[in-house]
Symmetry: D2
Subunit: 355 residues, 4 copies
């Protein structure tokens, strides 16, 4: 039985910032599990919440503990739980679907009409413990190290995006080479794609894209990336666009790089409307455009696990920063500068920086 209270990083008031509070350990009901958090990772969404951007202000109801990327150990399970037991090493799908809307009935629970997200709509994992419906837990194969297990959620975004269509033998442009873009490059390479073009304005990230396997690393501020891609593909363009930036200029460039009949999978979140030359970019091209949200439940988790187990995904360059929960101000500042990899918290450990 866990102790009665725990430390948690919380949005307490509807304004920028956050604070560590001591709160009650969640009580679990039938079908639930209580998980002791081993490592948690910061998402770009957490930065939005910290900064209290308009989306956060419209969605969150403080006080709430945030954080939705993690791994941990099952501490307790509620009545009726099968297939998972105390002591199991787990991560979790933090998107909770309703089970009865049209999308849920059609096998698309990841875009459930009544979706709730742990760490946004209810208390999340930047805490010593987190409550999760047992059906959303994902048991971790022992071959997968703890720090990889902590980022299965964003890795799943990358896997979902890459594997939303054919990838073997395909040429690929990745616009936006932050952590998910870099994971996308690694996943595409591991799945047999052909030439990869990494497109990114941040030189630090562009270098990272190379490390993760990009054959070309193009900075649109320094060269005509569209022209380069067309030249390198015999004027044809790439088979697949993986849009990871949310940046309107990058999106435009991406579509101009895409070959007729190609696939554009959009994961990056633009903060404003985007204007398209629909005729040239999509219609006459016979292109297919896919909105990508979350992870397929649980096809994506199986795929990500299999790729990690195979040893073909080396994500080590992403893991430079390991911090105590109390260092959250420093962590968000680092993240905002665009130079962080996946920053990890260890809420159940005394020490701060780890290696």
């Amino acid at each position: 039985m866990p102790a009665a209270t725990m430390r948690a990083l919380r949005k307490v008031r509807p304004e920028a910032g956050a604070q560590i509070e001591r709160v009650e350990i969640p009580r679990i009901g039938p079908g639930d599990a209580l998980v002791r958090v081993r490592a948690a990772s910061i998402c770009g969404t957490d930065l939005h919440i910290f900064k209290w951007d308009p989306w956060s202000a419209s969605r969150l109801k403080p006080p709430v503990t945030f954080g939705h990327e993690f791994c941990g150990t099952v501490e307790q399970v509620g009545a009726g739980v099968e297939g998972v037991a105390p002591g199991d090493f787990v991560s979790a799908e933090m998107h909770l679907n309703c089970g009865h809307c049209r999308q849920c009935r059609l096998g698309q629970p990841h875009i459930c009409k009544n979706l709730k997200i742990i760490g946004i709509d209810q208390d999340g994992c930047f805490a010593e413990f987190v409550r999760i419906p047992a059906g959303n837990l994902w048991k971790i194969d022992p071959a997968i190290p703890e720090h990889y297990a902590a980022i299965l959620d964003p890795l799943g975004n990358a896997v979902h995006t890459v594997l939303a269509g054919e990838i073997a033998g395909q040429t690929v442009a990745v616009t936006g080479c932050g952590p998910i873009g870099c994971m996308g490059i690694a996943v595409a390479k591991a799945c047999g794609c052909s030439t990869v073009f990494g497109i990114e304005v941040n030189p630090h990230r562009l270098a990272l894209a190379k490390t993760f396997g990009a054959d070309y690393a193009l900075n649109p501020k320094q060269e005509n990336a569209v022209a380069k891609v067309l030249e390198a593909t015999d004027g044809c363009g790439v088979d697949v666009l993986l849009e990871m930036s949310g940046n309107p200029a990058a999106i435009h460039d991406g579509f101009r790089m895409l070959r007729a009949g190609g696939r554009a999978s959009l994961l990056g979140i633009p903060s404003q409307p985007v204007t398209f030359d629909l005729v040239a970019d999509i219609i006459f091209k016979g292109a297919t455009v896919q909105g990508i949200f979350g992870r397929r439940m649980y096809e994506t988790w199986l795929q990500a696990t299999a790729l990690l187990k195979s040893g073909r995904l080396n994500l080590e360059p992403l893991f430079k920063e390991r911090m105590a929960l109390e260092q959250f101000q420093e962590a968000f500042a680092l993240l905002e500068r665009g130079e962080a990899g996946k920053i990890l918290f260890y809420p159940n450990e005394d020490t701060g920086l780890r290696s």
Copy 2:
């Protein structure tokens, strides 16, 4: 052997208008066929050419005979032609693919990089005879009447759009109920779709949509079409959006009507860039957007033929206007008013109006 000259409706100079000229009957080479035109139909593209809009001015090289929707009888075949012979009743795919670009090699010749179009890039079918590569001919099943055979090209656009994804049991919104939109409604119904919402601002066309099977005919100028569709679908939205208008407001409405996980197939050609709320309309929704161009070669032709043969497509309400080639001024004026169905020319007949 045909007579040495023939009548043809031609764009003679780079300016608005057209004229009937007497020109040489085309000479055919190896692999070609010469077809005597029985009935030809006017496409919206022909109106753009007639009016010499910016697209036409950038693409056409006058003098050229226009027209690309037709049926006729094979008059002659060139050396090496197999599978088609003089006397055969045919229509034709007027998009000519190169056979060696990446799309052609991948089974996507309809979006060939080096595509040429008969009636745009070379002499078309608004004439007594037209020259076509024999591989592009489509032999017409004798069960299909002449006036239907003349519009297999635009019917193919509708079939391509509807059958670009699942349709049986799906709810459908059709934005834009001109001739292709109405054919799209008929095809979707014949293929087992569920409720169809026809969306159109022109009352004449909206009434036509009803005739073709729309369960709801909504005029966004008179009511909140998005709200109506959501209400009629339990707040869920439609499974499939068939965009046939090219109108930015209709496109916006269409995406707001689309359910999460839905498919949007875009055929209508906007004349200007379109601004999207990518996040709400596509990304968070997990939507799939498809640009639709031409007809799959020749899957679409087989599908359209099968649907026509089955008798489940009643397209008669589209056929009101039958004219002599010399009535082209009247025909284009009628088309521009947005009240015409599929106007038919009969270049090899003396008389004008037929019934």
Copy 3:
């Protein structure tokens, strides 16, 4: 609160036969619903159970109430049930999946590794009441009549088989024209298929196939059905084979009728191993063969509902026999003679035969 006991048709001992017993009305737990049965239908599987064939003997653990096709009214719901309430008119998916095997995790719960079936592995619907997990209930659209609602399970088998691949514009052979075969013909027609060949040795069923829309009704005992199909398809064969017979000779014929690149969807259950000329029938042909089991949960249910609502499925010729539960001996005898349609029981009504 329902009365304490009810009538049920049960397999009491591990031997041929069945009997009506008075048993306790099922008690429901959290997540369950109790449904008052309005109409129940007999499946071929029920006949196997009645006759106690080797499969039944190996699977059932008497005493058990059988029956798994029905519709009814929700009487009670257990704790935690959402989205369904007493008074709702429902049918149900009687296949219960575990939720945590690989297939369940991959969105294929209909082939769950730990599948249990109500009416086989636990008490079914040939009774006044039946207990069903609420998540397996399917609310019936009020536009659907009671007798159609009672056969959504076998109609779902037909819909699942037909829509397991493309059907619009496709030529189709249906081998085996019992009730599910006939429903398959009706569904394929409603979804825009081209020519349908019904293949069946029972003249009564062959006539029924015609009624349901078969363009050709071929009796392989009287003519060379393979030759007829090839002749009618220009020597090409059909695009789609829907195998509904389980008969080895019909299966062989079916594959010889299938065109290269075609799809064979197998629903019929052979009672013995079947020998294939794999090279000619599948490999050199590049054919795709699909095993079809149950119904996709719940895509198939949505599709079946939409087709019924559209009014394009006329299944009336299947409904000739309406009986009291007590007439079960007569019902099974009729079924065995191969001349019955879908026999309906009305366990909560005093009278026997209805109209």
Copy 4:
């Protein structure tokens, strides 16, 4: 202009054996190319032809030069040839499709109804020169070495089989680990598959399977391969079966290893009918079975080229035997013993064995 005659390995009479003859160099017509053969490889089919098995006797019309796997240099092109020129380094798709049957019209030319094969139905590549329709040539990327270019045809079989469905993250069983089976393992691994089980009775080949990346190499003569696979997959079975043996026992085992909902892609050619437990192996399992023939034209060629260029396919262990055309007796004897890799001939070189 090439010399008037050349050496060719030919089937001269309808009986076992073959002989080297001096014959005229092929004359090319419009659309053709004449290719000087650099390296040719022996296929299992060539062994059947050499031994004059029943299939060969029913299909070939001697005298004919056999051989259909090769690379070479374009010597001459006929009238009207575009996109390829003398001096180009090429391989070729030796399956010639008609262009007008239903399969050709549907984008499935690899299963053309009127297919002809160079090296079987007309003179092939075991000669100094071979005539090929220019549209069937495949220009070789200069990054691909000659000996790899010579086996693009059988590599294409492997690629077609592996990529006929999802492969990333999937568990795979390969039954039959001859050269194509081993290439299948390498391709599956390069495309991100999970665990691979190689199943083979020949110890030499089983060792080769390990070399190519099989995680498990199982000999059904020495252990219960089905039980091993089930044990290693938590009782679930593999997601994908790649059947490369044509052996009935291996096919049976393969299906028993396949999970419910899995894919079985069949390339191996059984020499006799195969008996299936259709219910357990396919129907109740909801399995998908695909016949695989040839290579998709030309999607497979693009995929194979991309995989080779990426450097992720190490096929070197297949290349041990390089021989003069005159050593054909020795070559076929070696092949029959089941220990050869891909034996290469060099018809335009004086010397025999190379390294």
